[in-house]
Amino acid sequence: MERQKRDGKIYRHRLPTRVWHWVSAVTIFVMLGSGLMILNAHPHLYWGQYGANYDHPWISFSRFPGWATIPSTYNLALARRWHLTFALLLAFGLLLFMLVSLINRHFQRDLRIRAHEVAPRHLWHDMKQHLAFRFHDPANPGAFNILQKLSYAAVIFVLLPVLIGTGLTMSPGIDAAWPWLLDLFGGRQSARSIHFIAAALIVLFIIVHLTLVILAGPIREVRAMITGWWKIPEGEDA
C-alpha cells in the first residue's frame, strides 16, 4: 500500500495509532508512578509462590521518593485506585489497538520484521547509521528502521502483554479463575518480580524513545504523532 504524500510530507501515523500513542503515554505515566507507590508498601521482591518479611527477597529498595510516585505522599489505597482503574485503559486500549492494527494492516505493513533485516550485517549497518544520527533510509524515509521495529514490537507484543499478565496474576480473584497464570509466571511473587522488571524495561524504552525523538527532530516527530503528517527531512527524497 502506497503512503499518501503531499508537499514534502508523508502521511505516516494513522488516527488509531496516534490516539493509542497518546492514551498510552498518559496511562503508562500513571501506571509507573502509582506502581512505585504500591511497591513502597512492601519494597521487597521475591521469587516463587510466597514471599514476606521472614523470606529472602532478591532485591530490596528503600522508599521511592515523592517526585516519582502517584500520589506523592504515602497512600497505598489511592495509588491502587489509580493503578487498577488505569490498568483497564491500558489493557483494553492495547487489545483494541492490536485488533485495529491487524485490520488496517499497520502491523503487517510497518512492523513486519523481514529475515534480511535481522541479518547481523544489516543490524550492524543500522547500528552505525544510528550512531551517525541517520535514522531514515533515504530511499524510503517513511519506513521504520529495524531497530525501531524491534523495539516497538518488543513493547507491543512482549513487555505490555507481560505487564498485563503478571498484573492479573497478582489478583487472588483472577488466580482462582485462571490458575494457569500462576504456572505461567511461576507464582504470585515471581509474577510481582517480573512485573517490576518489565516496568523497568518500559522506562528504559521511554528514555531511549525520547532521546531519539529529540535527536531526530522533536518538532517534526511530535507534529507527526499529532497530525499524522511527517515532514521528510531535507536532502532525503521520498
Binding site: 512492601h42 510466597y50 506523592s72 497505598l76 489509580w82 485462571w178
Partner: protein, 255 residues
C-alpha cells in the same frame, strides 16, 4: 490544572517536570469528580472478574512442603481490650459467636461447638494488599453451613463480620463484609486452627474469616459476630469495612 503543569515544567526541567505532572495527579486525586472516576474502577474490576470467574472457582490449594516456613502477622497483633483479654485468659471458653441480622433463626454458639462442626482444611496463599504473600494451612467450618443453619431472609445481600479489635484510639471497631457469592464459596471458612494448632492471638484467635479469593484485609480476625444485612450503608462508615471507611481501600479486594 494545565497552568500548574506548565509553570512547574518550565521552572524545573525534565525530572521536576515529571514531578509537576505527578503533583497535578495529587490535585486530581483530591478532585471530587475525578475521584469518582478513579473509584469506579472498583466496581468495574469486580464486574469483570465475576464475568470471567465461575462463582465456585477455587483459589489454588498448595501441598504442605510449599507452605511459608514462618507466617508473619499483620494489622492488629492483639486487640488488648479488657473484654478480649478476659476471653483470652480463659482460652476463649466464654467466647460466643452471634449470627444474626436478616436471618430466620439467630444462632449463638461457643468455641467447642464450632470446633465440633465438620471442618474444611485448606493450604492457601494469603495475599496482603501491601504486596507480600504467605502460604498457610487453615481449618474451620464452611461459613455457608452456618448461614444455612441460620436461614438467611430473602432480602439479605451482604454478610458483615464484627470484630474485637479496635482502631483510632479504641473508638472504631474492625469490621468487614462480603457478598453472598463469596459467603457461600466452598473455601470461605471460619478458621479456628492455623498450621494444625489453635489460632494464635496474633493471627486472630479464636476465629478468623478466610475468604480466599480476596486480599488479606477482608479476612477479618477476632470475629465476634456475624450479621446478615440488605445494605452496608448503616454500618460503620458505610463503605463495608474499616479500611474501606478510614483509608479508602476498595471494598472488592479480589484484585
Amino acid at each position: 490544572m494545565s497552568r500548574l503543569f506548565t509553570r512547574r515544567g518550565v521552572t524545573t526541567g525534565l525530572i521536576a517536570g515529571a514531578g509537576g505532572l505527578l503533583s497535578g495527579c495529587d490535585a486530581l486525586g483530591r478532585n471530587e469528580t475525578f475521584r469518582k472516576i478513579l473509584y469506579s474502577g472498583d466496581d468495574a474490576n469486580r464486574t469483570l472478574q465475576r464475568l470471567v470467574s465461575d462463582r465456585n472457582a477455587l483459589a489454588r490449594e498448595y501441598a504442605a512442603p510449599e507452605m511459608s516456613p514462618r507466617f508473619r502477622t499483620n494489622g492488629t497483633r492483639n486487640p488488648n481490650t479488657d473484654a478480649y483479654n478476659a476471653l483470652a485468659a480463659n482460652d476463649f471458653a466464654d467466647w460466643r459467636l452471634n449470627i444474626g441480622g436478616l436471618v430466620e433463626r439467630p444462632l449463638n454458639i461457643g468455641i467447642d461447638r464450632l470446633r465440633s462442626l465438620p471442618a474444611r482444611t485448606q493450604i492457601t496463599r494469603h495475599d496482603c494488599v501491601e504486596g507480600w504473600s504467605a502460604i498457610g494451612k487453615w481449618t474451620g467450618p464452611r461459613l455457608s453451613m452456618l448461614l444455612d443453619a441460620a436461614r438467611l431472609k430473602p432480602e439479605a445481600r451482604y454478610i458483615v463480620f464484627h470484630c474485637a479489635d479496635r482502631y483510632r484510639g479504641g473508638t472504631v471497631p474492625y469490621y468487614e463484609s462480603i457478598d453472598l457469592i463469596d459467603a457461600f464459596h466452598p473455601q470461605t471458612i471460619l478458621a479456628w486452627a492455623m498450621n494444625d494448632a489453635p489460632l494464635s492471638v496474633g493471627h486472630g484467635a479464636p476465629v478468623r474469616l478466610r475468604v480466599e479469593r480476596q486480599l488479606g484485609y477482608k479476612h477479618a480476625k477476632y470475629v465476634m459476630g456475624i450479621e446478615a444485612v440488605a445494605s452496608l450503608a448503616g454500618i460503620g462508615g458505610g463503605k463495608g469495612g474499616l479500611w474501606e471507611d478510614i483509608a479508602g481501600y476498595d471494598w472488592y479486594a479480589g484484585i
